[in-house]
């Protein structure tokens, strides 16, 4: 794939001189003192970047595969712990008062045991323990007295209580507030599901056997193919239009980039408000002008039956809207790229073609298109990958409802709505593998630039 990125378009003004200094150096140059210092410095300069990318990108990528084979839910992220509640009964006011300390304990985890569980609680002086729970004992280090209770192994959900009875000796040293002031400290050993070696194929089984999985995959592919192709096509049109010089061109070029530059959150909600079934401009306008009878729930309606010459076609409303949004938001990108490429085509070849009597369409087909074929292919691949991975747009517009649930929204649904992290990770793996296969096939058959 490295060669592919070699042909990735660089903006003309970013690298003023072709990579003169990138010429391959013979291996022998790496020897020698100076060269060794240079090598060390290079590694030093790259080290922070390397660590950050490793930790935040590559490690999670591997971790995602790891999680996809594990029965992990959102709840498992909070590690199992021992929960102790302390209650006092009786009065602690004057000498001779009898009171009870009760410790209620439980294993917070619903799944995993705790081993060698124990807790310690600091207690003040000034009282005498009369009845001690057999699990506990009192120790003193200097003047500090501590109750230590050994609970042993606790199964998942296990709970119980320990009782201690005591009699007050010196009310100046002990009262309810002092007794309650110290919180019990717990000690236990538990396994962390994220790091254990417990694996399962359950997540994949669940993902592939789910009734809607193939629908979701199909929606993803429709969304990606039409969104990518549409954005490229609109970008191509826009580039053709902006190629001509006219007053105000640079202002309009800036305006055309707005959808891409503005935050997704702002433009997505603008669309939601614009197409709102009750108070949206589009619906009110359509019904006022007399095109539709009732309001259309653009982002909430799965499909509408359209009759064309007696043929009924099921038209997916919400999915089309989401695709239109995708095209609207990302055509500026293809536009920018294609325009830059077209402006770099030497004008004299067009003059020559004109002399030979080639019409504008012929010029476009046989001159411009071959020149931009390479960049169209690159753009298609990159946009395909990014559109396939697009989550925010659909999530904000429809929440994945009304037939717009793509694989990415499914990752979120599985992992965070149903709280099954493992299944979400499994869907993410499906996405990754799909894109990998697509990229390999695409790069093998993609057209090369004429230039």
């Amino acid at each position: 794939m490295g060669s592919f990125f070699g042909s990735c378009p660089l903006p003309p003004d970013i690298s003023p001189v072709p990579k003169r200094n990138m010429a391959r150096t013979p291996r022998s140059d790496f020897n020698g003192n100076l060269a060794r210092r240079e090598k060390r410095l290079a590694f030093l300069l790259l080290f922070p970047t390397f660590i950050l990318v490793l930790g935040i990108v590559l490690l999670p990528l591997v971790a995602n595969f790891w999680i996809s084979f594990k029965p992990v839910t959102l709840g498992d992220l909070r590690p199992p712990s021992l929960i102790i509640k302390e209650t006092l009964r009786g009065t602690v006011n004057s000498p001779g008062d009898i009171f009870k300390i009760e410790y209620r304990f439980r294993n917070s985890s619903l799944k995993y045991p705790l081993t060698e569980a124990s807790f310690r609680d600091k207690v003040p002086d000034g009282f005498l323990i009369t009845v001690m729970d057999p699990a506990c004992e009192i120790t003193s280090e200097g003047s500090q007295r501590t109750i230590v209770c050994k609970l042993g192994d606790l199964n998942a959900k296990a709970r119980g209580r320990l009782n201690i009875e005591a009699v007050v000796k010196d009310p100046l040293l002990v009262n309810k507030d002092i007794l309650k002031a110290s919180k019990p400290k717990t000690l236990f050993i538990t396994q962390n599901i994220m790091t254990s070696f417990e694996f399962t194929l359950e997540n994949y089984k669940k993902v592939f056997s789910a009734a809607e999985f193939w629908d979701v995959l199909r929606t993803s592919i429709y969304y990606t193919v039409f969104g990518t192709a549409g954005a490229l096509l609109f970008g191509l049109f826009a580039a053709q239009i902006m190629l001509k010089k006219f007053p105000g061109r640079s202002i309009i070029r800036g305006l055309l980039l707005f959808p891409y530059v503005a935050p997704v959150i702002a433009v997505a909600f603008s669309w939601v408000v614009l197409f709102d079934p009750f108070s949206g401009v589009v619906n009110t306008m359509l019904s006022q002008i007399g095109i539709v009878e009732g309001p259309i729930n653009f982002f909430g309606q799965r499909k509408v039956d359209i009759n064309i010459f007696g043929l009924t076609i099921e038209f997916p409303v919400a999915l089309s809207m989401v695709i239109m949004f995708e095209i609207w938001r990302y055509f500026p990108l293809s536009f920018l790229f294609i325009l830059a490429r077209m402006q770099s085509i030497p004008t004299d070849i067009y003059e020559a073609a004109k002399m030979d009597g080639a019409t504008p369409f012929q010029q476009f087909w046989s001159l411009s298109l071959p020149f931009i074929a390479g960049i169209l292919a690159v753009l298609f691949l990159l946009r395909f990958i990014w559109t396939f991975n697009k989550f925010d747009d659909i999530f904000l517009l429809t929440g994945g409802n009304a037939g717009t649930r793509t694989l990415t929204v499914n990752v979120y649904e599985q992992a965070f709505a149903i709280s099954n992290l493992g299944a979400g990770a499994a869907v993410a793996v499906v996405i990754f593998v799909f894109l990998l296969i697509f990229s390999i096939i695409f790069i093998r058959f993609s057209p090369k630039d004429a230039a």
Binding site: A42, M194, I241, L336, F391, L396
Partner: protein
């Protein structure tokens, strides 16, 4: 001879399309500007345009000295008579001066665009080259208007909705007229409420903090990294410069579950710090890629001269390479700022605490039935304004950053 290759047919079609389009656009604008329930009458408009187009084709520039004036009057007259005296407003909802203004705009705009499109066309058969150019002029004009409209309308609705009150939105969603008599505080009520009741100041500060921190961290990491890849010789250099963008193509949705899990277990998920290390990690590869190209373009003689004068490599970076590549660094900074400011996924997943919300995260919670729409749109404007302002101010740097980083989406 095919009929569609005659100037006569092409001109008639041009008039038909242009005047109908002007009629449509002006009607919609009038509805949005006044809130009046106007109805659309495309038929008469298209018919007027057709006649005007035929006139434009038949009338050579040489035969009438004041062709433009006559054309405009002709379109106005046709629009007026075909619509039986009520162009734009069959219900009589608008005051007379507004109707006259609309008629004037439609006829001036309609005729000028017809004239511009028809140009020096012949009436009869035009030949392949000339007729293709003719139709391309028509499509060019229509295309330009359509593109400007589809891009501008959502932003227009966003700004205008944010200035309306709840009642006026419910009464007539199409009414985007601004009542200046309300005074500034009433008009900007949604904005003021967002800042006083919804804590938007905190959101704004959080977003600014995270974005600026991301820019700084990205530059701190990527400038030395890019310099090393561009100028220093070390094994693995070619492999590295080729594969650095591959990292960039790894989708965020695949990283979000493991990062969520790891950060949760470390107890640092719900913090701006988490965002400040996740964002740079996703932007550094492209920053290295962009800067590497620029650094490689700087002549190596400069570095050698610096070394001769006893500068260390780090000094060369800060005193020679960086000052010379300020345009590229500005591009990277703006691009990274935009990415961080607009980022939604990680902010949405990571942050639970309202005090830590960034703008993206905070505005999502405005999207509920309890919060009025104009507040949501005011929030959208607040989120959009800084980044659009930067974009317009530094467009040149921004565009080169976008083209280099535009694999991102």
């Amino acid at each position: 001879m095919k009929f569609w290759m005659t100037g006569f047919f092409a001109s008639a079609l041009t008039g038909f399309v242009w005047v109908a389009l002007w009629h449509l656009l002006l009607t919609i604008m009038a509805i949005l500007a006044t809130g009046a329930a106007l109805t659309l009458a495309l038929g008469p408009a298209a018919l007027s345009g057709l006649v005007a187009g035929v006139f434009a084709a038949l009338q050579r520039p040489t035969t009438l000295c004041n062709r433009r004036m006559i054309g405009i009057i002709l379109v106005a007259f046709l629009l007026f008579s075909f619509s039986l005296g009520t162009p734009f407003d069959s219900g009589g909802l608008l005051p007379t001066w507004q109707r006259l203004l609309l008629l004037l705009l439609a006829s001036v705009g309609g005729w000028l665009t017809i004239e511009k499109t028809v140009g020096p066309a012949k009436v009869g058969f035009m030949g392949r080259y000339a007729i293709e150019e003719f139709y391309l002029r028509l499509f060019w004009g229509i295309g330009l208007i359509m593109f400007v409209l589809i891009v501008a309308v959502p932003f227009y609705v966003m700004v205008m909705t944010s200035l309306k009150s709840q009642q006026s939105l419910l009464i007539n969603p199409l009414d985007f007229s601004i009542d200046y008599s309300l005074g500034v505080t009433k008009l900007l009520r949604s904005y003021i409420e967002l800042f006083t009741d919804y804590g938007f100041m905190t959101l704004l500060m959080n977003s600014a903090l995270v974005s600026v921190a991301t820019v700084i961290i990205t530059l701190l990491f990527s400038v030395p990294g890019a310099y090393a890849v561009a100028k220093l010789r070390f094994p693995g250099r070619y492999w590295l410069s080729g594969s650095i963008l591959l990292i960039y193509l790894i989708p965020a949705i695949i990283l979000v579950i493991p990062l969520y899990a790891i950060f949760s277990q470390l107890g640092m998920r719900n913090s701006l710090f988490a965002l400040c290390i996740v964002y740079p990690a996703t932007t550094i590869p492209v920053a290295v890629y962009m800067l590497r190209g620029y650094f490689a373009g700087l002549p190596s003689d400069l570095d050698d001269a610096g070394l001769m004068d006893g500068l260390s490599r780090l000094q060369i970076i800060t005193r020679i390479a960086m000052p010379l590549s300020m345009p590229a660094i500005a591009s990277v900074a703006l691009y990274v700022f935009m990415i961080a400011w607009n980022e939604f996924l990680f902010a949405f997943m990571f942050l639970d605490d309202v005090k830590l919300f960034t703008l993206s995260r905070g505005i999502v919670s405005l999207n509920s039935s309890e919060v009025p729409r104009q507040h949501l749109m005011a929030g959208a404007v607040i989120a959009t304004a800084p980044v659009l302002f930067l974009f317009l101010w530094f467009e040149r740097f921004f565009v080169s950053g976008l083209t280099a980083g535009s694999v991102k989406g």
